[in-house]
């Protein structure tokens, strides 16, 4: 369960105040997959960093499982957009996945098990000893997802994770997220600027206005739980939903 | 406010250093004969500044530095361009360069003394030797950095060899030349003062040796401060002119 209440963030830039987030309130229920979508430059990443406890909000509050966030909460994992910078290039894939577990003081046999399972789950069996930079972009993002999965989080934050991979890889990774979510029973907050992606992935889509950001609208995605790239995207209901989201985003851009 | 605070802190740092040097000998923390208080060092500095011998020594050091640097830079650039643009020559000289470069220039001190005694020649020999490699190696990097596509473009338009050097090779190598000269400038100062100190050729280094031999400790410290300031001035001037001359260049590169 994730609650964002009246969140506000003001940056100081050269003596000037820039209001990035004005007043954001929404919740993500336990086990839900919610997509956050908004026009570019609307402070999505700022919001996510506040939720992750990496940034102190100027006002309002974030609660995870009933506890106010004032630093990265335990049981939360983050997948960053910049996979190339988020993975440590001096460590092998295995060491990258294992490091957070070592910090959590997970015993060694269990660590090995978790690393292996998570690499299997993202389809990277056999790449454990490679270095991240020896892999393609899509595979690097899979490593980052494996690292998050192995951490056994209750909440998973994903910050435009597929913005920098090619379209086909992207479709595969979207399906990977759906299947992991169903298997692992985690709460996922997925930030994206891609409207189709948000409708395809989410149970619910929260639309943000342009900066200074407020919640523009929310929409429940009543598509069947079994989704796949072919039939779901061809579903007339999918088209209706994406049109609705699109209209709201256009409105948001005009500042309505 | 954010602009001048680092300057303020830096000034506080310098003031703190002076205070420590003033108080440590006065409170008996270190022996006053070994480290005189800052005020006495500054007084000695003022005394030096009033003596013609000091200015003559400073002049000698600067002449040796400038002459040595000019010779080394000229030779280094010329050799670098020739060696760098002929692949066979480059392959042939690579091992020799790699062998000669790390030879500590101070190894040549006895030889310089035999050949030139305690004259300017000794200093020049060491300065040139040490500074030459800095320039040469950078120019070689620079020539290797020439975009093959640019070079082939020039060839397909039937540029003469001279025009290829003038319009393709030289502009690419120029930032590297600057880096090489900047590195060489500080190395040249170190070697000039070292030669004067060890061999006794005229200059600041010799004055330091004389002050040490006559146990004029404050004067010795004052002269060392002068060498440090000289080094700072050369570093800052080199960096400034590099930035100034290469402001147009997209590849003004970071620190080596």
């Amino acid at each position: 369960m994730l609650e964002v209440k009246g969140l506000r963030k003001v940056y100081q830039a050269g003596g000037r105040e820039v209001e990035a987030l004005r007043d954001l309130t929404f919740t993500v229920d336990r086990g839900e997959l919610v997509c956050l979508v908004g026009p570019s430059g609307c402070g999505k990443t700022t919001l996510l960093r506040c939720v992750a406890g990496l940034l102190d909000p100027s006002g309002g509050e974030v609660e995870v499982d009933g506890k106010a966030v004032d630093g990265p909460p335990p049981g939360m994992a983050v997948v960053f957009q910049e996979y190339g910078r988020s993975l440590f290039p001096w460590m092998t894939v295995k060491a990258n996945v294992e490091l957070p577990l070592k910090q959590k003081k997970v015993p060694k046999p269990r660590r090995a098990e978790l690393v292996e399972q998570s690499l299997d789950a993202v389809g990277l069996t056999g790449n454990a000893d490679a270095y991240p930079w020896q892999l393609s972009g899509g595979m690097q993002q899979r490593v980052a997802i494996a690292r998050a999965v192995a951490y056994e989080p209750r909440t998973l934050l994903m910050d435009e994770p597929f913005a920098a991979v090619d379209a086909q890889t992207r479709a595969d990774l979207e399906d990977l997220v759906r299947s992991l979510w169903k298997r692992l029973d985690v709460t996922i907050l997925f930030v994206t600027h891609d409207i189709d992606e948000s409708v395809y992935l989410g149970q619910r889509v929260v639309m943000l206005s342009s900066s200074p950001t407020v919640v523009q609208d929310e929409l429940t995605i009543d598509l069947p739980a079994e989704r796949d790239q072919l039939t779901t995207r061809a579903d007339p209901r999918f088209a209706e939903l994406r049109t609705k989201v699109y209209q709201q985003i256009q409105l948001a851009k005009k500042g309505a | 406010m954010t602009r001048f605070r680092p300057v303020l802190l830096g000034a506080a740092g310098l003031a703190g250093l002076l205070l420590v040097i003033e108080l440590a000998p006065r409170t008996g923390l270190v022996d006053e004969r070994f480290l005189p208080p800052a005020s006495r060092i500054l007084a000695a500095l003022a005394r030096e500044a009033g003596s013609p011998a000091f200015w003559a020594a400073l002049g000698d050091t600067l002449v040796a530095w400038a002459l040595g640097l000019a010779v080394a830079a000229g030779a280094g650039v010329l050799a670098g361009l020739v060696i760098g643009s002929v692949p066979a020559l480059r392959a042939l000289t690579a091992s020799t360069v790699e062998f000669l470069r790390p030879i500590p220039s101070v190894a040549l001190i006895p030889l310089a003394v035999l050949l030139y005694g305690t004259g300017l020649g000794s200093t020049l020999m060491l300065v040139c030797y040490a500074a030459f490699w800095q320039v040469l190696v950078q120019v070689l990097y620079g020539v290797a950095d020439v975009d093959p596509v640019a070079f082939e473009t020039a060839r397909s338009f039937r540029f003469s060899p001279w025009a290829r050097v003038r319009y393709v090779l030289w502009p690419t190598a120029l930032p590297y030349v600057f880096t090489g000269v900047r590195l060489a400038a500080s190395v040249a100062l170190v070697l000039a003062i070292t030669a004067e100190l060890v061999i006794g050729s005229p200059g600041l280094g010799k004055e330091i040796a004389v002050a040490q031999a006559s146990e004029a400790v404050p004067a010795m410290y004052a002269l060392i401060v002068v060498t440090g300031l000289l080094g700072v001035v050369i570093n800052v001037a080199a960096r400034f002119s590099e930035r100034r001359f290469l402001a147009w260049h997209q590849s003004v590169r970071g620190e080596i």
Partner: protein
């Protein structure tokens, strides 16, 4: 390029140069430039095992002690300064000044404090070497990628692990650059401090040869110093290449992308 041709290129010019030196100097009557043959004979006669034990080994031990101490001090202080913006702003001008002081002028200063024994030479090497290591570490720590730091925080990699697992590896290419600069300074200071005041060591011996006009022996000492400098830089490069293999790979991957 075939292996044989590579070898040919690598040893060709040195062989020619040595050959020229040998031939041109063979009939040399010059007092200062004796025939290479004479120098080589002197090399064999001078640098026997006892002489190496007596003069080269002490030099190398002082070099190693000073260099390693400087590395530990430089990296430790560099991390501390690099992580604290205010501390960095405060000490930066002081550090820039100390870095700009030509290291050999430290010899007379440190002689005041520490006499002319081994301690003096080690301290001189530490004082001369520590600045490039420190300043490069500061730069490296400062340039650690913000996403890497946030990742570490988000996954609970904090405290000592943050420094040893994230900050130090990330700064290591820059630290290596500092260590490389420091190595050549260390060799220079080893020689200089022995030229000033010593009863053994390479620098001392070579100056003795020069003062007693034992010219072929002096030349042999210069050659030995050259070989030493070359050997140490080779050793450093091998160690660097091993430790920073990931960095080479990363850069190669970025270039082709």
């Amino acid at each position: 390029m075939s292996f044989m041709r590579k070898i040919g290129y690598a040893v060709g010019l040195p062989l020619i140069l040595f050959g020229l030196w040998f031939v041109l100097s063979s009939g040399s009557e010059s007092f200062y430039a004796p025939p290479l043959g004479t120098i080589l004979t002197a090399f064999g006669d001078t640098w026997t095992w006892p002489a190496i034990r007596a003069d080269v080994l002490p030099s190398l031990l002082r070099l190693a002690a000073g260099y390693l101490l400087a590395a530990v001090v430089g990296v430790t202080l560099g991390v501390a300064i690099g992580l604290d913006r205010r501390l960095r702003a405060t000490v930066e001008p002081v550090l820039e000044f100390f870095r700009a002081v030509p290291p050999p002028v430290l010899v007379p200063v440190i002689m005041l404090f520490a006499g002319i024994g081994d301690a003096m030479k080690v301290i001189v090497i530490v004082f001369g070497c520590v600045w490039p290591i420190l300043l490069n570490t500061v730069e490296g720590v400062r340039a650690v990628d913000s996403v890497q730091l946030e990742t570490a925080r988000a996954y609970g990699v904090t405290g000592p692990a943050r420094i040893t697992r994230v900050i130090l590896p990330s700064a290591s290419p820059q630290i290596a650059a500092g260590l490389r600069q420091a190595l050549s300074i260390a060799i220079i200071l080893m020689v200089i401090s022995e030229m000033f005041a010593a009863s053994n060591g390479l620098g001392f011996t070579i100056v003795q040869f020069q003062r007693s006009f034992a010219i072929p022996e002096m030349w042999s000492g210069i050659i030995l110093l050259g070989l030493l400098g070359f050997g140490l830089s080779l050793l450093f490069r091998l160690a660097e290449r091993r430790a920073l293999r990931w960095y080479e790979g990363l850069r190669a991957a970025q270039r082709t992308r």
